[in-house]
């Protein structure tokens, strides 16, 4: 009798770890990933609160040109006398906005094409993969430059250009995951329960394909930030948006006279991309079920 009560109370107290809890635990056990997360917390904090605390307009000519870092201007001024620190702080939001919105567009295009190709297969797959290959063989940066220079440069256009040249990776990954998972037995079981294609795609296969997609998305944010920096450096950025790439690009001719004007924004880009890469790697380890079971 006491035996049965015991079993029941054990059942009641049994609280297995939710997968999410387990993923967080794995993530936090990874020091590099936590460092990346700290970096990104700082960057996000800067992007949202920086302009409130340090309100100097980065476009304003506030001091003497090429003032070295010092007491008046912590990070110095550029060749026009614009405050570098203000540029770094205000540029954070531009950089993040580009990174995230370009990634969202990339994912929308890539996942849609990957899902259709991987799930339906056959001629749909053939057609979509030929299109994907066409985009893959174009030199990405050059293609982005062409797209941006065809129209008036704006942040929207840059975001779109980045998405157009980077979606192929996500599409191929999604396709591969769908081709693999659609053969699994639980997909057949779902079908035997009367599930429709839309349900099988979005609620059965996609959730199982998410781990590698999430990792790729995280890394994609870094790629998008680098693309924006490259375009701005080449003078194709939005002239009304004070991004880190623009800062480097505008001061590149004066690099020998004012190293700080390019070094600090460059360092900011480096830390941002490093941070997101470390987060991506950490997620990769945390989401990989084979590592998790160890």
């Amino acid at each position: 009798m006491s035996n049965t009560t015991n079993v029941t109370s054990m059942e009641v107290e049994y609280r297995p770890d939710r997968p999410l809890v387990e993923i967080w635990r794995m993530f936090f056990a990874n020091k590099a990933a936590v460092f990346g997360l700290v970096l990104w917390t700082l960057i996000i904090f800067t992007a949202f609160l920086g302009p409130v605390i340090y309100s100097t307009d980065p476009f304003d000519l506030v001091g003497a040109p090429m003032e070295p870092p010092g007491e008046e201007f912590l990070l110095g001024t550029d060749y026009l006398g614009r405050d570098i620190l203000a540029g770094i702080i205000h540029g954070a939001s531009v950089t993040l906005a580009i990174g995230f919105s370009a990634t969202i567009f990339t994912v929308i295009i890539g996942v849609t094409i990957g899902v259709l190709a991987g799930y339906y297969g056959g001629w749909v797959d053939t057609v979509l993969m030929r299109v994907t290959e066409f985009f893959q063989v174009l030199p990405a940066l050059l293609f982005a430059m062409v797209l941006v220079s065809l129209f008036t440069a704006s942040l929207y256009l840059i975001v779109l250009a980045i998405a157009v040249v980077t979606w192929t990776g996500i599409a191929r990954l999604t396709r591969a995951e769908f081709m693999k998972i659609k053969e699994r037995e639980f997909v057949l079981a779902e079908r035997a329960m009367g599930a429709r294609n839309t349900r099988i795609i979005w609620k059965v296969i996609l959730p199982n394909a998410l781990p590698p997609l999430i990792v790729t998305m995280a890394l994609g944010v870094g790629v998008a930030i680098l693309f924006e920096a490259a375009l701005s450096f080449l003078g194709l950025g939005d002239p009304n948006a004070y991004s880190w790439g623009y800062m480097i690009g505008s001061s590149r001719e004066y690099i020998w006279d004012s190293w700080w004007a390019v070094t600090f924004p460059g360092f900011a880009i480096f830390l941002t991309v490093l941070g997101i890469s470390l987060i991506g790697d950490g997620l990769n380890d945390a989401l990989n079920p084979k590592l998790r079971e160890l």
Binding site: T8, E11, Y14, E185, L188, A192, M193, G194, K203
Partner: protein, 330 residues
């Protein structure tokens, strides 16, 4: 007074296109299932048992598969005439299926409660709360302890037997009239196997569900089914009530299958006997033409056997077989 069958398979032919030509995996198959009955389908791997199940569900991967002829009548309406959308309303609602591998038939990323209740909501447009209640009720009915807590668990947290119970709960959540169980216990321990069969038996009685049980194990059939159809290479070779088939098998293949069951001996004896086997393997389905497909392995093989399809031989009231040897012996 003859009862109208619930499900009738008439002259079902299924072919698969391969690089070496079309393969006929089901060859003019006839079956029927009466209301409340447990029909066993038995045969070696590759004899078309699972293909038959997937054909009834219209889940044959097409291409390469193709149902080329026949009818599948559920309550006298032909499932093969339905479009995909109508078929989706049949699956899980009127005919459900459980699979061999409970370890892989549940979606690993959702809790079991969510999976069962989604199925209920899909077919019965129930609210979330109603579906949850129904889920708990179903899990309780299949013998899952403390279902209120279990619904939050994920498939990897359950044992194989528990998962198969969840699959059964899901399959039965909309009270289908037919449940197809494709080797539901092959991946489970023998003790769990007995529990699952008890559960299926109880469900068959309580919910008046007709069950088609697919297995390669004659002893499972003996324990569970009312009637049995023996399949070989895509065709039915013998059909009858379980007692008739086990006590009085007529087709040489059925006799072979029953001899292969190791523990049907009454006296365990002091001497160990070697296990019996049917010599040879299931033939290459591409090579089956207009002969008896069992002929190459048959101990009673005669000249006709290589020339023409064997005729149907009536043995008892509900017992018949397809064999030249039996035809001659009449």
């Amino acid at each position: 007074m003859r009862q109208e069958p619930l499900l009738q398979v008439k002259g079902l032919c299924v072919e698969f296109a391969t690089r070496k030509g079309n393969v006929q995996v089901l060859n003019h198959l006839d079956l029927h299932l009466d209301p409340g009955e447990a029909l066993g389908i038995v045969g070696e791997s590759g004899c078309g048992k699972s293909m038959m199940a997937l054909s009834i569900m219209r889940l044959i991967p097409a291409p390469p598969g193709n149902i080329s002829a026949g009818q599948i009548l559920l309550n006298n309406s032909d499932l093969l005439q339905l479009n995909e959308k109508q078929m989706q309303d049949v699956r899980g609602n009127e005919i459900s299926m459980i699979f061999q591998e409970p370890m892989t038939s549940l979606n690993p990323v959702f809790s079991i409660g969510m999976q069962v209740s989604e199925n209920i909501r899909r077919h019965q447009s129930a609210t979330r709360a109603v579906a949850r209640e129904k889920t708990i009720q179903m899990l309780k009915a299949v013998g899952i302890p403390v279902p209120e807590l279990r619904i939050k668990q994920y498939p990897h947290e359950l044992s194989g037997g528990m998962r198969q119970r969840v699959m059964i709960a899901m399959a039965l959540s909309c009270q289908p009239s037919v449940l197809i169980a494709d080797e539901p216990t092959t991946a489970l321990d023998v003790t769990i196997q007995a529990q699952i069969f008890d559960l299926l038996k109880q469900i068959q009685q309580d919910m008046n569900t007709s069950i088609i049980l697919i297995t390669h194990d004659m002893s499972v059939i003996a324990e569970f089914a009312d009637r049995v159809a023996v399949m070989y290479a895509g065709s039915k070779v013998e059909e009858g009530l379980v007692r008739d088939i086990i006590d009085n098998p007529h087709h040489p293949y059925t006799q072979g299958l029953i001899r292969c069951v190791p523990f049907l001996k009454k006296d365990p004896g002091t001497e160990r006997e070697e296990l019996n086997e049917i010599p040879g393997v299931v033939p290459d389905m591409r090579l089956i033409g207009s002969e008896c497909s069992f002929a190459p392995r048959c101990r009673y093989v005669m000249d006709h056997c290589h020339e023409k399809k064997p005729p149907e031989v009536q043995i008892g009231k509900k017992h018949h077989a397809f064999c030249w040897y039996l035809e001659e012996g009449k």
